[in-house]
Each structure stands twice: as C-alpha cells, then as structure tokens.
C-alpha cells in the first residue's frame, strides 16, 4: 500500500496546474448558447495541448494518459473550476467506443472531429419505457438497402440540439433474447427524421432532450461492432465512463463543503454544536466516498477492468450530495426558501443524482448480486 504519487504523476499534476492557471477560460457567460460556444472554445484550447482526449492513445490525437493521470486531471479540473469541454460525451464515451470497437475507417472518420469539438456527440440509450430496465428499449432499426431505418423515441439525451452524432441503441432483432437483439449505431442527428426537443427540468433548466426518431437512416458503415452486439459494446463504455469519475465528484463535493463552511461562519453558526455535528458528518461521508473512489481506482489500474464496486461511490455521491445541499438550505433558516444562493438550485438538482446514471436501487442490486453474490430477484 503506497498512496504517494510517482514523480511522473506529481509532475503531470504540477504541469497541469500551471497550465490551468495560465489557460483558465474565466467565468462562463450567461445564456445556454453562449455557454456552449464558450465550452467549445475551451475544448479547442484543451485540444491544442492534448488535454482533450486525455486517455486516448497518442496515435488518435490523445495524450495516452494513465488512469491515474486521468483521475488527477478530473480532480484538477474540478479544483480549478473550469467548465467541462463542450464535447464531453464524445471525449469520454464516443471516442473510446470507436477506438475499442470501430473499424479503421470509423476511426479515421470520427475521432478527430470529436477532439476538436467540431462534431458534438450525444447518447441515445434511455427511452420513456426503458429506464432502469434499459435493455427493454423499443426503438427499432429495420434493415434497408445500404443501411438501417430507425423509428422510436429516446429521452435524457444531453447536447442533442448541438450534436452531430448520436450513440444510439436500437433493436434490430425483435425475435432475439432481450439483450441479444440490440445494435449500436452512430446516427447522424442532422436529418429530417430526427427531432430533438428540450426537456425542461424541475430546476427550470434543460440539460436534456427528448429525441423523436421517425424513419431516420443510418448507413451500414455507421454500425459499431456487429449487429446484435450493441449491448456489450454499450456496457463496456458505460463502465469505462464511470472509472475515475468518483474521485473528481468527491473533490467537487469537498469544495462545496468549504463553501458551506464559509456560509456557516457568515451566519455565525460555526460554534453551534448541532451544526458542527451535521457538517462534520457530511465531511466524513464525502471523505470516505473519496477514499473509496481512490481504492476503486487503484483496483481498476491493477485489474484493467472496472468492477461492480463502482456502485459504492455512485450511491455515496448521490446520498452525500443530497444531504449536503439540504443541510445548506436548512442552516439558513427562513432565508433557505430564497433562491438567492446556489444552494436551493443545487438541492433540487441533487434529487436527480440518485436516478441519473443508474438509480441507487439499481446500484444496490448490483452490489447485492455481483459483489455479495446474493440470489437475484428476477
């Protein structure tokens, strides 16, 4: 057991910090479109110094960074309060899936515009009737000459209105067993058969979209992997997406805990034992989540594959973020009902944490069945 970083990792962090200080894009502008263009420019800046596509092999324009470097990178991005790059889904999911499962032609075609944010990617997995039970998805792809005709509806699709490409799961073989008849497509969003409609959230933002697909076309060359193997293609990408994220998420929470401490001091409640108990408990939970994330990362670095233990930090993240934001609103007393700090927004937004990316219930199923080997319910 040795939690020190290697000299190379220390150097990577030091260089990254310097780079972030020198290249910090400043505060994000107001307005969704303005913010998006801001993030596009920011990604472009990142790409110039190979900080976009960090873990991609160098031959594809990435930096070939290790998982540890990737975790350091996520931490430092959070710490420096820089925005995510515009094409985040292309970078963390699209590129890796093309690199792992794509043909040489697909790599040639798709990778560079992901890095440059010239082509934005979105994800079309969830459907209104296929949430936790994702494999029950109903969007159909029917073989036609030279490609596939797609019909169906997707939901919770981020960036759909900016996206050129959608990572789409659709059912190609309705006769096959649930998980076997699904194919992974890259669907061009810029066609008449595809309509994206922003989904207004209870926070009054629209991070996500509904996507209505009506006789859209995907050419054969835009199928990833073989028809019918889409489920396993998607699963490997989802797992990779999560590895290394929890450390960054924990650090983000810890930074907000510092903010919260400042607010508590401003309210003159920093010596109130009841407030200290609750606040201290939140800090303990955030720190154990961070350490679980580090242990998990250490395991992935060694084994090469994320295990089901990743569900631990996913559950903890939702739980501590919800508890922290509720406490921050509560500690303000009557003024907690005001929407004049970020906390009431954060409290509302945090309710989705135990749903998005796999509900806490699904995560507990995973832990029970795959870590503890308890009998399956279904």
């Amino acid at each position: 057991m040795d939690l020190t970083l290697t000299p190379e990792e220390e150097q990577f962090r030091a260089e990254l910090r310097t780079w972030l200080e020198q290249n910090h894009p400043g505060p994000e502008p107001d307005g969704a479109e303005e913010a998006f263009q801001f993030r596009r420019a920011w990604q472009h800046r990142m790409q110039q110094d190979r900080y976009a596509g960090l873990t991609w092999p160098r031959e594809y324009g990435g930096r070939g960074a290790t998982l540890m470097q990737s975790a350091i990178f996520n931490e430092e991005m959070v710490r420096a309060k820089v925005p995510s790059p515009a094409n985040i889904l292309g970078l963390v999911m699209g590129g890796p899936v093309v690199i792992a499962h794509g043909t040489p032609e697909q790599k040639e075609r798709f990778l560079e515009p992901i890095l440059s944010a010239d082509e934005i990617w979105c994800q079309g997995f969830s459907e209104p009737d296929a949430g936790s039970d994702l494999a029950s998805l109903k969007t159909r792809a029917v073989k036609v000459d030279g490609g596939w005709k797609i019909n169906g509806q997707k939901v919770w699709t981020s960036f759909a209105h900016h996206a050129k490409w959608c990572m789409l799961l659709a059912r190609t073989d309705p006769e096959a067993k649930k998980h076997d008849g699904i194919t992974y497509f890259l669907m061009d969003m810029e066609q008449a058969g595809v309509q994206a409609k922003p989904l207004r959230q209870l926070t009054d933002e629209s991070e996500f979209n509904e996507v209505f697909i009506d006789d859209a076309f995907v050419p054969d060359e835009n199928v990833i992997g073989n028809p019918g193997q889409g489920w396993s293609v998607a699963i490997t990408t989802l797992a990779l997406e999560r590895a290394g994220l929890s450390l960054g998420s924990a650090v983000a929470i810890q930074i907000q805990l510092r903010e919260l401490a400042a607010m508590i001091r401003d309210l003159g409640k920093d010596r109130d034992p009841a407030v200290r108990q609750k606040f201290g408990e939140l800090c303990v939970k955030a720190e154990t989540m961070r350490l679980n994330g580090a242990r998990g990362l250490s395991y992935v670095i060694k084994s090469g594959m994320p295990g089901p233990e990743g569900s631990i930090t996913k559950i903890q993240w939702a739980s501590v973020n919800q508890a922290m934001t509720e406490f921050a609103v509560q500690v303000r007393g009557t003024e907690g009902l005001l929407d004049d700090t970020p906390w009431s927004y954060r409290m509302l937004r945090a309710r989705a944490n135990s749903i998005e990316g796999g509900t806490s219930e699904i995560q507990k199923n995973i832990l029970a069945e795959r870590v503890l080997a308890l009998p399956r319910l279904r």
Binding site: M1, V82, Q254, K364, P375
Partner: protein, 355 residues
C-alpha cells in the same frame, strides 16, 4: 498510487486470519466469555508473532513495521472478536512512544513491544477515575485525560472490575491520582490509537456483514431465500457501503500515520467517526437479517455487536471526531486552521480552489 495491501501486508493478514482461526475460533471466544478469562496460550502466540510491538520502531524493541500492518492485524482481531488484551496493550505502547519521555520509553516501551511486560490504556471519565480495558494484571497503565496523559503503576491505583456491555473483553475502573505525566504529544498517540480501534471495528463489521449475507443465502421464507428480497439485499448492500467506507478510511489513516503525518489528524477522525458508526450499524442490521435467531445467546452475532458498542466508546466518540472534522473543514476559528498550509502530498483532502 496503490491502495492495495502489499504482498507482505497480505501475508500478515493471512497469518493473522489463520492464527486466530486456529487459536480463537468462535467456540473458543464463547469459552472465554463464559469463563470471563482470556486464553493465556493465545497471548503467548500473539507475543511470538511479534504483534505486541508491530508498529513500534525496532529501536524500541518493536517489529518496526507500520500502522498499515497494525491495522491489518487489528482488523483480523475484530473479525475474530478475539478476547485479548492486545488492543489495550497496543494503545499503551503507542501513547508511550509518542508522548513518553526518553526515560519512560526506555523503561517501558521496549518491554511492552517485546511482550515482556503488558501495558493497558484508557481514558479518564467524569468522576476522575479512568475506564481501562485489561487494566488488571497490566504492568503499567496509561491514563488519558483530554490532551494530557499520565503513566500510572498498578500499585499506585485501585483497579476494580466493571460490568461492561462487551463480554469479550475485560474492563476496569482505575482510581487514584498518582502517576507521572507523559510530557510529549498525546494527540499524536491518540490519533494512532484510533487507527487501531477503527481497524478492529472494521473487522467486526466485516464479519457481521458476512454472517448476514451467508444467512440470507440459505434462509428460506415464502418459498425463496430471504436474500432475494430487496428489503434484505439492499440492507446488505448498505452494509457493504459502510464496511468499505470504514476500511478505506482506516487504511488511509494508517497510511498517513506512516507516510504523511500532516494528514493524520483529519484522517484518524474520519476513520473513527465512520468505523464507530459502521460497527454498530452493520451488526444491528445483520441482526435484523437474522431475525429471532440472531437475538439468541447461542448465535455468535451478539459478540460482534457488543464489541462494536464498546470499541466505538473507547477513547474518542464518533461525535467528538465529527466535531473535530468540522474544524478541519473550516468551522474552527481562523487560528486553528494552520494545518491547511501543508501541501497535500498525495491523497490529500482538497484545499479550497484557487481560481
């Protein structure tokens, strides 16, 4: 960064597991509880393994290993719920090493580390007396009072057995104002004692969770194993989150004690606050999975529950540690925040963002 145990550490873990499975299985624990005694042969074995001084420097007669190694061994003692004076002895040695004068160390530390003498440590309560595990028969006592501690000889004090919630260990009240102060850094010692306690609590919780999971696989109600009900399986998943959290926090604190003491104060408090809650909560939750059978004396689960209840209260409580963590995160008045000037070496909790 490698959060896994090294090959050597894994070997120590396996050795402790095998040693305790052989010398202190649950039937043996039950025998000792019924008799209200400890197994002398077990203690001889502990000394022969060198665990009495595992984290004490070789210069002081110890094995010169680290707190990670100590945590590994203590987790196994929790996992076995072994009746043994090891914890109290370890606490006394740690406090002597960190707060004792050179004279006190040379008189006592080497002998304790080598297993020639036995130490015991505990903390002073409201009435001025101290609660000390395994005080009877100890050669030297270390009594902690806040951030101060004193070394007391058994002859200078009155030692009375007390009935405690935990029948797997022997507890005593130590009365008397005698003894000499330990002049050094008591807090540095206490933080390391909490690492040992957190490790034992983690082992206790791990075993209680395993019992629940195994029972949930075989117990049938309404025609299927109870572990297939989410009321049970999600309860077990919650236990896993708790146990892994306690283990991660304990290992990190142990590592900090060895490699980055600037992080120890926060890390030890996080570990004890988490492990104290985890020990009891997981044991109680395991009892719920077991149903009535878990409420019987015949079942072994209650030994773990009671050990968890006691460990959580030895030295600092979860609420004291939460309060201290709150201070570390910015709720102390400004002067106390000096620790933040430290540059984090590796897995440090984040400083405030700089942009």
């Amino acid at each position: 960064m490698n959060f896994d145990l090294s090959t050597e550490q894994q070997a120590i873990k396996q050795a402790a597991r095998d040693f305790l499975a052989g010398k202190s299985d649950l039937r043996a624990v039950r025998r000792q509880v019924d008799a209200g005694t400890y197994d002398g042969a077990l203690w001889e074995g502990v000394k022969n393994q060198g665990w009495t001084g595992i984290a004490i420097p070789e210069a002081h007669g110890g094995a010169g290993l680290g707190y990670v190694e100590l945590a590994v061994v203590m987790e196994e003692f929790g996992y076995a719920c072994a009746p043994s004076p090891l914890l109290s002895n370890t606490a006394a040695a740690i406090l002597l090493e960190h707060a004792g004068s050179e004279a006190q160390k040379s008189q006592w530390l080497s002998a304790i580390a080598a297993g020639e003498q036995r130490g015991a440590a505990g903390s002073v309560t409201r009435d001025g007396s101290a609660l000390v595990a395994d005080a009877e028969g100890a050669d030297v006592l270390v009594l902690v009072d806040g951030a101060a501690a004193r070394l007391v000889l058994p002859a200078e004090a009155e030692i009375t057995a007390v009935k405690a919630i935990d029948p797997t260990r022997r507890y005593f009240r130590v009365t008397g104002n005698g003894g000499v102060p330990l002049p050094g850094d008591v807090t540095a010692g206490l933080d390391r004692v909490e690492v040992a306690l957190s490790a034992e609590l983690t082992g206790v919780a791990q075993r209680a969770m395993e019992m629940a999971v195994e029972y949930a696989k075989v117990r049938q109600q309404f025609g299927r194993p109870i572990g297939s009900y989410q009321a049970v399986s999600h309860r077990c998943a919650d236990m896993l989150v708790d146990v892994e959290s306690a283990r991660s926090a304990t290992l990190f604190a142990a590592w900090a004690a060895d490699a980055d003491p600037s992080q120890l104060s926060l890390a030890a408090s996080v570990a004890k606050a988490q492990a104290a809650e985890t020990g009891w909560n997981v044991a109680a939750s395991s009892l719920q999975v077991h149903g009535g059978i878990g409420f019987t004396w015949e079942h072994d689960l209650h030994f773990f529950m009671k050990r968890a209840a006691a460990d959580a209260r030895l030295f600092g409580s979860a609420s004291q540690h939460r309060d201290r963590v709150a201070g570390h995160y910015g709720l102390d008045p400004a002067p106390a925040q000096g620790a933040e000037a430290h540059a984090p070496a590796a897995l440090a909790a984040p400083e405030p963002a700089r942009v």
